[in-house]
Every structure is written in structure tokens, then in C-alpha cells.
Amino acid sequence: MSRSVKWLVPTIYILFLMLPIYWLISMSFKTTNEILGAFSLWPQEFTLENYKKIFTDPTWYNGYINSLIYVVINTVISVSVALPAAYAFSRYRFLGDKHLFFWLLTNRMAPPAVFALPFFQLYSATGLFDTHIAVALAHCLFNIPLAVWILEGFMSGVPKELDETAYLDGYSFWRFFVRIFIPTIAAGIGVAMFFCFMYSWVELLLAKTLTSVNAKPIAATMTRTASTSGYELGLLAAAGTLTIIPGAFVIYFVRNYIARGFALGRV
């Protein structure tokens, strides 16, 4: 393909990606009357009312705080327990390692719909229902296997001579692991964290099932508003727009790692 048309493909693709997002953002600056009344490509009566409502009403802004809390807890738990496990998988052979690895992956394949009801019962029985930790733990179901999988790929790319030299130099295992090994695979940890953040942030079914008031995620606030107050589309669009921002931030920070990270690791 000649150079002149090559840039067209990504450009058209990105335009296609941006159109619905543009529509969402533009709608968030419109009044309800304008949305339902006249069709316009951009807001005619520009308003910030929708955003003001979200930032002043605690049921709205608490939703964001709740979501961020459980996402961060989940990312920290997933990556920190996955690190030693991935090291074990990449460096050692042990009884049942292959089966264990596949079993872990099968949990990534479990449809959340299958687990919705039993999760509700399990977390009610343990008294964790409607807490941030419940959602964070539940999301471990699919994020830990993913983190192990990604990290194992990165670790297998690091030559074993690195470990051996460090031990010869008199490093203890944990000192080597923390001081040398973790910095070596920083890119891999970045990619793993990105994926854990992503899957926990976007998941709704389990998060909604496991919370009622105190830990209700923003996504659940939105669906409940959509069903109770009817057609407040402007408000819904504003809430939706705000959910894109944390994701955009995370991508911006890991943007250099993603391309480099994917290339190094196996994912």
C-alpha cells in the first residue's frame, strides 16, 4: 500500500471511535429540552447544570469514590499476590504446575453471570456484603489469573542468569526479588496493573450485585437513575463522560509501556 493512503486507515478508524464519544460529551452539555426537542450537532444552549448536579449530589459523587476505592484495592491485591506466583510459574517446575496454571486461567473464562447469585450469598454469609473489599475480592476472580498470566510472560523473558548472578553475589531471595527483579520487569507490572484496573473499572454485573448503598459503584448509580427518573439523558451523559476520565488518565500514564510492554511480554 502506498504511503499516502496508509495514514487514512487509522485516521478513519479513530474517527469512528470518537463519534459516539463526541455525541456523549455533546449531549452532556445540553438541556433535557434540547435533547428531546430539536436535533442539533452541537449544544445550542450550552449548560453545565448536569455536571453541577453530579458534583453537588452525594449519591452521584460517592459513586465515583466507591468505584475508585475498590478498583485500587483490587489492583493492589491482584498484582501483589500475582508477583510471587508468576515467579514460581516462570522459574520452577513443581507438582501440578501446568494444571494449576490452566485452572487459574479457567477462572478468567467464567462468565460473571454464572457467579452473580452464589457471590451474593457467599458475601452475605461472610458479612462483607456492601463493602468495597467485597467487590475488590470478587474481581480478583478474573484479575489474578490475568495478572499471573501477563507477569509470567514478562518474567520468562528475563534470563535466568540474572537470578543466579544475584545469588552468587550473596543476595537473599527477597532482597533480590525486591531490589533487582521487580525493577527489571517494571514494564510488565505496568501492563498488568493497567489490565487489572481496566477490567475492574469496567465490570458492572458483580459490582452491582455485591453492593446496595455504602459501596455502590458509579455505574450502578447510573443504571438506577436511568430506570427511576425516566429520561434525564443529559445527566446520564454527563455521568458517562466523567467515567471516561480515570481511564484516559491511566492510559496516558502507561502509553509508552503498552507498546513496549506488549512486545516484551507474551500478551
Binding site: 499476590v81 517446575r93 462468565p111 447469585l117 452464589p118
Partner: protein, 288 residues
């Protein structure tokens, strides 16, 4: 890499196993428990054997939603994988535009799934949505809330919008890891663009593409939130995929037995396909 045999490595794996087992085994056993029992309320349960499994496997409703699910997954794989490869091939390799492309393309991946559904809903509505207005403006009668075909097209388009970027990112990373020497050798041999793709890039992408297909298969097979918010499974039952149907039975009608049996069959289907993929992938790796 030849690995050392070391049973103490289990100690490193224990936290992961405990956490995942808590989340996976206990609920799974609950599901198994429900799937073989009949209840008449009041928390009284009776042994029901494999009755629920027979009922689910024979039910028209399950066949229909399984068929819809398979059709949907096949369609999006056939669209997203070639499209993703094409976009990745055309992306710049260096320069300031790389970051811009990557950030903008990754954006749909980080939007909560219900927001994706809601966004496409207001984007495609025929009276207030940009897409709906545009299609109707072209003279095509389009209303995804009433026409099954339009609902399918919208759902597939939404998924393409949402997930093609994952294939792009993975493929792009795979392409970046191909050493320049390969391309130089191809240039010396006078290879055509197609030959470079067929004999250099595609074999090198083997691994990332397997992962991309595996991830897309799993996620599309479990899809729930986006079509639920977009169409609610309608019009009629035309976009009721497996997860939507399952949640309807389990949480809507509270038919625990059939729902549990259906869950297990559903899970088995996903497992079987993934096991085939996984084995194929591991065998490939063993060869190379």
C-alpha cells in the same frame, strides 16, 4: 527455558490459590448444589438428579440463545480480527503520532460497559441519536428498538467499536517486536507487500493473535452488560444472549435449579473451547 524442579515454589502460589479458590470453588459448589436439587421455597431442598440438565439441554429457549451467542461471537471475531490487523499494519511505527493513536484507540477499552451500552443507545436512537439520524437521512428505515436486523447490526457495531482496539494493540505490539533485519532481508529478495505480510509478519504474529482471539472469544461469549443496556435483549428475544438469558432465569424468575444447570453447561462450553485453544497454543510453542 529449562526450569528447576522445586516443590517449595508452591509457597509462592499459595496466596493466589487461596484467593481464587475462595472466589471460584465456593460459588461453583453452590451452583453444583442447586443444579441437582429441587426447591419449593422455605429453604427446603430435594434431590433432583440430572433432571434440570435434561430440561435445559432439551429446551428450545436454551438452544435459541446458544445459537444467537455462537452467531454473535463468530460475527465479531470475523470482523474484529481482520480489521484489527489491518489498522495495526497501517499505524505509524515511530514519531509523535504513535502515542496519540495508542491513547485514542485504547479509550473505548476503559469505558465502563454500561456506559458503552448507554452511549450507543443515545448514539443510535433514530429520533435523537447521531447514527440513527444519519442512517435514516440516507433513506434507510432504521430503528434498532423495533427491527431485529437493525438491533443486531447495532449490537455488532457496538462490539466492534468497543473491542477492535484490543486486537489492534496486541497486533501492533507483535509487529513492533519483529526485528528490522527481517524486513531488510525481504527487501533484498524483492518480496511484495503481501509476501512480507504472509511470510514474515503473520507467522511472527501467531502468538499474539492466538491470545487476541482467545480473549475476544471469552469476553464476547460472556457479554452481558452492553447489549442489556443497549437493547434489553430485544426486540422480543432477538438479542438475548446466553448471559442475559441466564440472569433473567436466575435473578428474574429465581428458578435456581434450571439456572444452575444452565450455568454449568454454559461454563463447560467456554472451558471446552478455551481448552482446545490453549492446547493448540502450547503445542505451537513446543514446536518453535
Amino acid at each position: 527455558m529449562n526450569k528447576l524442579s522445586n516443590q517449595r515454589a508452591w509457597l509462592f502460589v499459595v496466596p493466589v490459590v487461596l484467593l481464587v479458590a475462595f472466589n471460584a470453588l465456593i460459588p461453583l459448589m453452590t451452583v453444583v448444589n442447586y443444579s441437582v436439587q429441587e426447591t419449593f421455597g422455605n429453604n427446603q431442598f430435594f434431590w433432583h438428579g440430572v433432571g434440570w440438565f435434561e430440561q435445559v439441554l432439551k429446551s428450545e429457549r436454551f438452544h435459541a440463545s446458544l445459537l444467537r451467542q455462537l452467531a454473535f461471537t463468530t460475527m465479531i471475531l470475523l470482523i474484529e480480527v481482520p480489521l484489527g490487523i489491518a489498522v495495526a499494519l497501517c499505524m505509524p511505527r515511530k514519531g509523535p503520532w504513535v502515542s496519540v493513536c495508542l491513547v485514542l484507540m485504547a479509550l473505548p477499552l476503559l469505558i465502563p460497559w454500561n456506559v458503552v451500552g448507554a452511549m450507543w443507545n443515545i448514539f443510535a436512537l433514530p429520533d435523537i441519536g447521531l447514527l440513527g439520524k444519519m442512517i435514516n437521512g440516507l433513506g434507510i428505515d432504521y430503528n434498532f428498538t423495533q427491527q431485529p436486523v437493525a438491533a443486531w447490526v447495532t449490537t455488532v457495531l457496538m462490539d466492534v467499536w468497543h473491542w477492535t482496539s484490543l486486537v489492534v494493540l496486541l497486533t501492533y505490539a507483535g509487529l513492533c517486536s519483529i526485528p528490522d533485519a527481517y524486513y531488510q532481508a525481504a527487501r533484498i529478495d524483492g518480496a511484495s507487500g503481501w509476501a512480507v505480510f504472509r511470510f514474515i509478519q503473520l507467522p511472527k504474529l501467531n502468538r499474539v493473535l492466538t491470545i487476541a482471539i482467545l480473549l475476544r472469544f471469552m469476553d464476547s461469549f460472556m457479554i452481558y452488560t452492553e447489549p442489556f443496556v443497549l437493547t434489553g435483549g430485544g426486540p422480543g428475544n432477538t438479542t438475548t444472549f446466553l448471559s442475559i438469558d441466564l440472569v433473567k432465569i436466575a435473578l428474574g424468575q429465581f428458578d435456581l435449579g434450571p439456572a444452575a444447570a444452565m450455568s454449568l453447561i454454559y461454563f463447560m462450553v467456554v472451558l471446552l473451547v478455551c481448552w482446545i485453544f490453549y492446547t493448540a497454543m502450547m503445542r505451537n510453542e513446543g514446536q518453535s
